[in-house]
């Protein structure tokens, strides 16, 4: 095919026009281009940053996706009982607090010494194990701020000391039974009052039986069963009874190991040996909780025995007085969380454990007082963990009225309000008439109020001497704190005392 170009023309072309002197690019700039925009002058296009691209890429999914959570390594859960142990831990010593130099320990001599009123009496170290065993210390109490545990000697504790001293030692008070319900405002020291009673009872070698928390028996956390086929409406709590036996044995081991059985116990499955100690008897119930209740009854019969049965005279030793301390009484005055076979709630008074301790408030039967060897019953209510039972309020008012010699038939005697439908069993439980036995006292109500100013001063000085309070403890300052604490409510005083106050540096 012949080309359309004329080769000769093309070869001649360069020679026909003179060669440009300047490079073509420069000349091109001077010449007005056909287009108005000049691509050569334009800045080079910016490269887009990779992150700035908005919107999804082509054909990418537009649905919202949750970011997957990173799977963290699972830590091992704490071992069984570890958290509870931490929650219930009781710390009785603070090595950072100063040792108070001339602090006395509670003893048989100084628990009746009224000169010590307002001072702090320490709890002897060997007794701490016993007090721990009966669960006298509560986790929220401020034992952990002082070098060693101690309690304020207040008017009520001196009076109690004299009482315990009299029952143990004075012949005219032998076999005396004092029955008290301890009430008072929150933080007024009811539980510590019980603790003081226990410490005094331990120094006098009494037998101490305690129920540290009434609520534990009604929360449906321990096993229960009908007592027997004859009484299907009364329930026994074997685990709780075994725990009670264990508390009693650990705390009173010294006393119980000296006492021997004084009678036959036909209710027990296997007959006991003649020389069984009461400690060994109680241990049977701890080992086999199924028999805990009959064993507890046997132990109680032994502790309240005044004379041996025929044939048991050889090993009989007279039984010591007893202290029965119960804390948080209001929980025993209402229906429990347990249910009957017909799915009805069980009243606390249908629990045989509760029945036993409440029956002690009544006058004793068979010409014997409730504690024939003498002793003290201290049943404390709680103000911080209080279920609020109206019938109990009325019943306690009635106890107070009887104490003030108001006749039950008089119009001043407290009555439940109309249509309040009070629980008659609760009213009956506290309706204890005067006992025919001269040594048995009637039920009293003891209301614990705030401490006096002198006692408050002693308490605040104890804070200062323990190095917790860096302040001049003056009369005026104590009076101020006493008023701030609602008239010497000791729990509030403790809060004020433990608050770290550092005087301003001048």
């Amino acid at each position: 095919m012949v080309s359309s170009f004329c080769w000769s023309c093309l070869t001649r072309l360069p020679t026909a026009s003179p060669r440009p002197m300047l490079p073509p690019t420069l000349t091109a700039q001077r010449v007005a281009a056909f287009h108005t925009s000049s691509p050569l002058l334009a800045l080079p296009p910016k490269k887009k940053a990779p992150g700035q691209q908005s919107g999804p890429k082509h054909r990418a999914s537009t649905t919202f996706k949750m970011k997957k959570r990173k799977v963290t390594d699972r830590v091992r859960p704490p071992a069984i009982g570890e958290r509870r142990a931490l929650r219930k831990r009781i710390v009785l010593s603070n090595p950072n607090a100063l040792e108070v130099a001339d602090m006395q320990d509670i003893s048989a001599d100084n628990m009746v010494d009224s000169r010590l009123r307002g001072s702090i009496l320490g709890l002897p170290v060997p007794m701490l194990d016993q007090l721990r065993a009966v669960q006298a210390f509560k986790p929220k109490q401020g034992w952990s701020i002082f070098r060693r545990p101690g309690t304020v000697t207040r008017r009520e504790s001196l009076e109690l000391g004299r009482l315990i001293d009299g029952i143990s030692d004075k012949p005219e008070d032998k076999g005396k039974v004092v029955k008290r319900i301890v009430t008072g405002a929150r933080g007024s020291g009811k539980t510590v009052h019980l603790l003081q009673a226990m410490s005094m009872a331990f120094t006098k070698e009494w037998v101490v039986v305690t129920v540290p928390e009434c609520q534990d028996l009604v929360l449906a956390n321990t096993s229960y069963a009908p007592l027997s086929d004859e009484n299907p409406n009364v329930y026994v709590q074997n685990q709780a009874t075994a725990a009670l036996l264990s508390r009693t044995v650990t705390a009173n081991q010294k006393v119980l190991s000296k006492l021997k059985v004084s009678r036959e116990h036909p209710a027990l499955k296997s007959p006991l040996k003649r020389d069984t100690t009461l400690e060994a008897l109680a241990n049977l119930g701890i080992q086999d909780p199924a028999t805990a209740w009959p064993i507890f009854q046997a132990l109680w019969a032994e502790l309240t025995a005044t004379s041996p049965a025929p044939g048991f005279e050889k090993d009989f030793a007279s039984r010591p007085p007893m202290l029965v301390a119960v804390d948080g009484l209001a929980h025993w005055m209402k229906e429990t969380k347990y249910r009957t076979a017909k799915y009805e709630l069980i009243h606390a008074h249908d629990l045989v454990f509760v029945q036993h301790f409440l029956s002690l408030l009544k006058p004793g039967k068979n010409q014997q007082s409730a504690l024939p060897n003498g002793g003290v019953l201290l049943y404390a209510t709680s103000a911080s963990n209080n279920p609020g039972v109206y019938s109990l309020d009325v019943a306690l008012k009635r106890v107070a009225a009887r104490q003030n010699r108001v006749d039950p038939s008089s119009p001043d005697y407290p009555m439940p309000t109309a249509f309040s439908n009070p629980d008659q069993r609760v009213l009956a439980a506290f309706d204890s008439p005067k006992s025919s036995i001269p040594t048995e006292g009637t039920l009293e109500l003891q209301t614990i109020a705030g401490v006096s100013r002198e006692e408050a001063r002693g308490f605040m000085e104890y804070f200062a001497r323990s190095g917790l309070l860096r302040q001049q403890v003056s009369e005026e300052w104590v009076n101020e704190k006493w008023t701030l604490a609602g008239g010497g409510v000791i729990g509030e005083l403790e809060k004020l005392g433990r608050r770290l106050t550092v005087p301003a540096q001048v």
Partner: protein, 120 residues
């Protein structure tokens, strides 16, 4: 490990939870069962006595639970279908049975309302 009605439960499990693992036993039935045999609600399987385990098993075997109950539910659905009721027809179609709207949100109805319903 404790056998209750042929199922093996670890000892650390709550009795109440273990009972509720059976199809047809919920909170109410299990609470009542526990009360009937005087077992407290926080009881663990390991704490049960032999007699209590036997009692519970005997009581459970008298009850219509597990496969018996599943079969009964399926039979009820089948009966509705066979008698030609509206509910039966709705079951057969896999549509809501109780008058719900069907314009949307009927996935669960489609899943559950079948003749051969799977019961968990």
């Amino acid at each position: 490990m404790v056998f209750i009605l042929g199922v093996n439960f670890p000892e650390r499990n709550l009795v109440k939870k273990s009972l509720e693992s059976f199809f047809g036993i919920g909170n109410n039935t299990s609470s009542r069962l526990l009360a009937r045999f005087h077992i407290h609600p926080t009881c663990k399987v390991g704490e049960l006595g032999n007699k209590q385990v036997l009692d519970i098993t005997a009581a459970l075997s008298d009850m219509k639970i597990e496969n018996d109950l599943r079969r009964k539910v399926l039979e009820n659905i089948k009966r509705l279908k066979e008698t030609g009721t509206y509910r039966g027809r709705r079951h057969a179609l896999g549509l809501p049975v109780r008058g719900q709207n069907t314009r949307n949100q009927i996935k669960n109805a489609v899943k559950f309302n079948r003749i051969e319903r799977r019961l968990g």
